[in-house]
């Protein structure tokens, strides 16, 4: 090296030379790991454990090669399974696992996208990014750190899955391909979220756009695969990153080159996110923030108009979810008989879950219990909106107007009361129509399935009323309402399997819901549930009228 070139190098001020867009990434990675020290390992393990658990369960349900072959020709080619999970590319145990795990990339994609937004746009929105931006951290460091951590977690999932599957005796190459397929879903949507986090000022919009991209990718993959492997629309799958995952064909003659597509897309998205983040101001979005109206419409003139404005969007989202859930549950109902035909063990599980011998009726009674549980989570979220508004000091200026406390509360509580009615109606109708089209007798199935859905209402309202009672009487303990939802879920989903005593099962209001459509409708328990819900609501409202408003 000549003396002259050394001189040139020295001419760069040492402090400037050290600062690039990525300076400080390491420190921010440690900060994220510190903040997510429980959340991150929890979801990595959770995601890894699900497919690993499938191995033992599938192996005991389909122990012989002949069983697996039969599965591949019946359940494995059921259109619902094809749509939800994608095709099977082989007939061995690994192929069954790979298909059954076909939804996992969507889940891991969702978690990864949320994680990236949480550590980029949410931080900026809260103003914490600014605090760090004033220290020695490059402007790309926040984004880089979020992507490094999220993609690192995805690779950890891949490693766990590869090791876990191989340890249970599955082929190593297939196990590796499978692990990478799952991680690919997470990495792609982490990168997608890296881009959407640059676009808008609000974290909500960044999340929404990323989830919409995930939904679109899933819809395209569904359309491509619903006709089975090699159908005339199969080429559509190449348009969706989720489709590339399936087409890697873990355990079915791996096509490793599809991973290059994933890597190229991730690299392109990361580069785009980096370029966008370099071009915009901290806190601003690439897209200008939307302006609202200068005046309120006539609709927005009281507690009901405001509650509608604040809660209707989320209601639409939940209703879309309930409709999708209904379609899936309704469409799978026919497949339940197929699955059960293959397997007497499954038949026994379903009869036990539903407390019924007629398999499809038992199936609907059981899945509608599930739908009811989800509806109760929605009901709790609407009721606790009261608490959110109060704690954020947004209730105070409203209650300083000529609006009484009960009138203010009733705006939000209308959603707690009628939202679940709408949700269960939508789910019941969707499931009834889907199943009716399958059996060719929608006139019989729709009212039966809709009835089974609406029968859940008293239990849903009761759980919502617990939230309201806590809000009125013990506002610091409103988190208890979520514990109630979790408790009901535990009892409904695992109560029978855990062999809980009857008194413990009776703690969940869902235990007392008549098992429609198979059994007859019993009025007495329903009236009891309604009476308890009404009493809890009255106590909550009376408590709220009497107590101090939360202040800062």
């Amino acid at each position: 090296m000549s003396g002259a070139s050394r001189g040139v190098r020295r001419a760069v001020p040492p402090r400037m030379a050290g600062v690039s867009a990525l300076t400080g990434t390491g420190g921010l990675v440690r900060l994220i790991l510190r903040r997510d020290r429980i959340l991150l390992p929890a979801w990595v393990l959770w995601i890894a454990v699900i497919p690993l658990g499938f191995v033992g369960a599938t192996d005991s349900l389909y122990p012989e090669a002949a069983d697996r072959l039969q599965y591949a020709h019946t359940t494995g080619t059921n259109p619902t399974f094809l749509a939800l999970y994608g095709p099977m590319y082989g007939t061995d145990l690994g192929s069954i696992i790979a298909q059954r795990s076909g939804f996992v990339p969507v889940v891991i994609g969702l978690i990864s996208a949320l994680t990236v937004v949480r550590h980029t746009r949410t931080e900026e929105e809260a103003g914490r990014r600014e605090l760090l931006g004033a220290t020695v951290a490059g402007r790309g460091a926040g984004l880089a750190a979020a992507l490094v951590v999220t993609m690192g977690a995805n690779l950890a999932v891949a490693a766990l899955l590869t090791a876990g599957l191989a340890a249970q005796g599955l082929p190593v190459a297939g196990s590796l391909a499978f692990g990478l397929q799952m991680a690919a879903g997470g990495c792609v949507f982490a990168a997608v979220a890296g881009v959407t986090a640059q676009l808008s000022e609000g974290a909500g919009a960044a999340r929404g756009t990323a989830i919409a991209a995930l939904g679109a990718a899933f819809a395209v993959r569904m359309a491509a695969d619903v006709g089975g492997a090699g159908n005339s629309l199969s080429w559509l799958g190449w348009l969706s990153p989720l489709g590339w995952g399936n087409r890697l064909r873990a355990f079915g003659g791996e096509r490793w080159w599809t991973l290059a597509l994933v890597a190229a897309l991730v690299a392109a998205l990361v580069a785009a996110a980096g370029a966008l983040s370099a071009r915009r101001d901290v806190g601003a979005g690439v897209l200008p923030p939307g302006l609202g109206p200068a005046d309120a419409t006539a609709r927005l003139s009281g507690p009901f108009g405001l509650a509608w404005r604040l809660q209707s969007r989320s209601l639409y989202g939940w209703l879309a979810g309930f409709a999708a859930l209904g379609v899936v549950y309704g469409a799978v109902a026919g497949g339940v008989l197929d699955m059960v035909k293959d397997n007497p063990d499954l038949a026994e599980i379903f009869t036990r879950l539903g407390g019924q011998t007629a398999i499809v009726d038992a199936y609907f009674a059981s899945v509608m219990g599930m739908v009811g549980l989800i509806a109760s989570a929605y009901a709790v979220s609407t009721a606790l909106r009261l608490r959110t508004e109060e704690a954020a000091q947004r209730a105070e200026p409203l209650l300083a107007t000529a609006t009484g406390r009960l009138r203010w509360a009733s705006g939000h509580l209308l959603f707690t009361l009628l939202g679940p009615v709408a949700a269960l109606t939508v789910a019941g109708l969707a499931a009834g129509v889907a199943h009716g089209l399958d059996t060719g007798d929608p006139g019989r199935e729709v009212p039966r399935v809709l009835g089974a859905a609406l029968a859940q209402l008293p239990a849903v309202w009761l759980v919502g009323a617990i939230a309201l009672a806590l809000f009125g009487l013990a506002p610091g303990l409103t988190g208890g309402a979520w514990a109630a939802v979790a408790g009901c879920a535990l009892i409904t989903l695992f109560g029978a399997a855990l062999g809980l005593d009857q008194w413990a099962l009776d703690l969940s209001p869902f235990t007392h819901i008549p098992k429609l459509p198979g059994r007859s409708f019993a009025l007495a328990p329903v009236l009891w549930l309604l009476a308890i819900a009404a009493a809890l609501s009255a106590a909550g409202l009376a408590g709220f009228r009497r107590r101090d408003l939360a202040t800062r």
């Binding site: 929105e125 000022e201 609000g202 909500g204 923030p289 939307g290 302006l291 609202g292 109206p293 200068a294 005046d295 309120a296 927005l300 003139s301 009281g302 507690p303 108009g305 405001l306 404005r309 604040l310 954020a392 000091q393 947004r394 105070e396 200026p397 409203l398 209650l399 300083a400 107007t401 000529a402 609006t403 009484g404 009497r546 107590r547 101090d548 408003l549 202040t551 800062r552």
Partner: protein, 302 residues
């Protein structure tokens, strides 16, 4: 309520949060048509008192009357006749400022559209921005426009100008003067002394939940000391100065503070020696205020 019933009349008000006594026997009277300054540092109990008056908190003891009614029992009815601006206006992220102003106005029972447009203009506030896009000062303006555009007879303003720049502070003061001319009553809680000095007819100073002073600024000044600096004809050694404090003598120049009621007596003593020049300064509100908080400051310094 008759014309001279005080819009706000509070006596012996007590409110505890757990072990903390936020209000410890507060007395407060606001007369019709006046701008009443409610002074005290953070944590003195100003916001708690206003929230009791709004019926958001329930007092443990004492009486409070608001516009001739019971602030807790008659809250909804009374709120038609008042407007409130909190010290930290929080907005819904996805509602525009204009929507919030209209919403609050309608929920109170009406809003003067012309006045709203005029106030938006004077405060230079863009009503189309969404709640999350406003800065602290602009959020505060949303609350101010919503309250000032109403035709309420009583305004409860709880540190309403926090985050406003000096230009906007000026606009705010102008608006409050207009409110007074229109015959409205204003309770202005603040720790900005210049604001209170510029706007308020009467002042109540609150400390640890108790009112320690109340009256017009002149009355309060009378209760405290005036600073005197005089150059005399001869050195004033050994002369009696009743009610004088912190006396410092430098040759024939004397500097001291005197209890205002004793001012006359002391000046007579000085003129007997012969006065060459005299500077007399009434106490500032700041000095008044600091006198009541001196021990607290000392505690904090320790």
């Amino acid at each position: 309520m008759t014309a001279d019933t005080p819009p706000i009349s509070v006596s012996g008000l007590v409110k505890s949060f757990g072990r903390t006594r936020a209000l410890d026997g507060l007395d407060l009277t606001v007369r019709p048509g006046e701008v009443h300054g409610f002074l005290g540092p953070n944590g003195a109990g100003k916001s708690t008192a206003i929230r009791v008056l709004l019926g958001l908190l329930r007092a443990d003891a004492g009486t409070a009357r608001l516009l001739g009614g019971d602030p807790w029992r008659d809250a909804t009815e009374l709120h038609r006749r008042l407007a409130y601006v909190p010290g930290d206006v929080t907005l819904w992220p996805n509602l525009s400022g204009g929507e919030v102003i209209d919403l609050l106005g309608r929920m109170r029972g009406g809003l003067d559209r012309r006045r709203k447009a005029d106030l938006l203009d004077r405060f230079e506030l863009d009503p189309r921005k969404k709640g999350r896009a406003y800065s602290k000062g602009n959020r505060q303006k949303v609350g101010l426009v919503a309250a000032l555009a109403s035709d309420a007879e009583l305004l409860l303003l709880d540190e309403p100008t926090s985050g406003l720049d000096p230009l906007m502070e000026e606009v705010f003061q102008e608006c409050v003067r207009e409110e007074r001319r229109a015959g409205r009553t204003v309770l202005l809680s603040s720790h900005i002394l210049s604001e209170v000095e510029a706007l308020c007819d009467r002042v109540t100073i609150i400390r640890k939940g108790v009112a320690v002073e109340s009256g017009t600024l002149d009355e309060l000044r009378h209760l405290t000391r005036t600073s005197i600096r005089a150059e005399l004809a001869a050195p004033p050694d050994g002369i009696p100065l009743p009610g004088a404090h912190d006396v410092r003598i430098d040759g024939s120049t004397i500097t001291f503070e005197v209890d205002t009621p004793q001012l006359d007596t002391v000046l007579r003593v000085l003129t007997e020696i012969g006065v060459r020049s005299l500077v007399s300064r009434p106490p500032t509100l700041e000095e008044l205020f600091l006198r009541h908080y001196k021990d607290e400051l000392q505690e904090a310094a320790r």
